[in-house]
Symmetry: C2
Amino acid sequence: MLSKTHTKYIQSLQHKKSRDEAGLFIAEGPKLVPDLLAGRNFICKELFAVKEWFDHNEKLRSTYPNISFTEVEDFELGKISALTTPNSVLAVFEKRKPDSNIVLKDKITLVLDTIQDPGNLGTIIRIADWFGLENIVCSQGCADMYNPKVVQSTMGSLGRVNIIYTNLAGWLKKNNSIKIYSASLTGKPLPALGKLKEGIIIIGNEAHGISDEVMELVNEKITIPRTGEAESLNAAVAAGIIISHVTG
Amino acid sequence: MLSKTHTKYIQSLQHKKSRDEAGLFIAEGPKLVPDLLAGRNFICKELFAVKEWFDHNEKLRSTYPNISFTEVEDFELGKISALTTPNSVLAVFEKRKPDSNIVLKDKITLVLDTIQDPGNLGTIIRIADWFGLENIVCSQGCADMYNPKVVQSTMGSLGRVNIIYTNLAGWLKKNNSIKIYSASLTGKPLPALGKLKEGIIIIGNEAHGISDEVMELVNEKITIPRTGEAESLNAAVAAGIIISHVTG
């Protein structure tokens, strides 16, 4: 049984301000929650699940003695869930402190300028994890990595990629020894670019691309050749194509 | 002013059964609606917009004399819209008959096996349009191309790609003169595959991949090399990476 206060508290974690104050976020579902628990990149504080889920996950109680487990009814899970269709289990995790002293030498680093769609950000985090990129640097205007929609779409990759939020122009100026590439609608065609050992690759906003301030710092614009007529590619798809090409 | 019956009728187009019966679908927003009108791939029957939109698009009334234009209040648009945040204009278009006699020779053809997420399907249609692929062949289990979420995420590419729905195994058997490739978690690494002049590329379901029946017909499995730890890539991202590679 969940109290009204407790319910409101979990609901509040759907909002960035509350997540920042509490230092917590939520993750949901019978695939993602065990993945995040097993990954041990985030400390789980509380876990709420329906009876059937606990019946199939008995041993978790002894594996994680520090987690507060609560059995809830479907309607209670529905109240605390951020999903349209709540799914068996919801857990509250501690946010972690990102490592802001990242190494750029001999690595590909992804930089996101105002990626606002949570689904896109989550998909990009998954791409970085697939291709073994260690770090993503986000502008302050990007969606919050702990937004429930981002968390759900990362499919467990959230704990395996170090993500920092910073003033992009300032950060790029400080790291001017590494060549900066941008995904653009014009520039060097991707196939003409070889495999890269190191570099910063910037992906811009879904509608407005890369901001002028950041664009000024770009050393080479690269473009995915278009033979058809679409105006643009989805930002996550563009990120995937470029990273696959330069690391492949 | 919109009558209750008219409102219900437009709302019904959010469901596949009603769309199929009426042969109609809806598209929304000040970017997409004019794009679809200008593309002239779909016949527009009715257009509903708020006063401000009509103020800025006066000349459309004379350009398209056969469209029934209706000025609506914000709350009325909210009722007929499929968007969380309705945006100025909604139009009703006629579905078109796909061209089922497609040419596969000397072309790359994309085949989708049960792509269920409307956002993924829309993004894949946009990818096909970007790379100039003429046709997409969908299994019956794919999301409906006229689902409002698909329509919105195609960003106007919907009219420029011919999309057919069919029994995939049967269709592939009939077209066995063309080499069939699948996006898989194992197989030939993508960089080892050269540029392709022709071929069928199959992308499988978000969670279950390609069905056994279809997999039996595949000639070559290809895989996007993974150096990190993510379990999978988003289906649209995988489609983008493979198509970019084989056409690049």
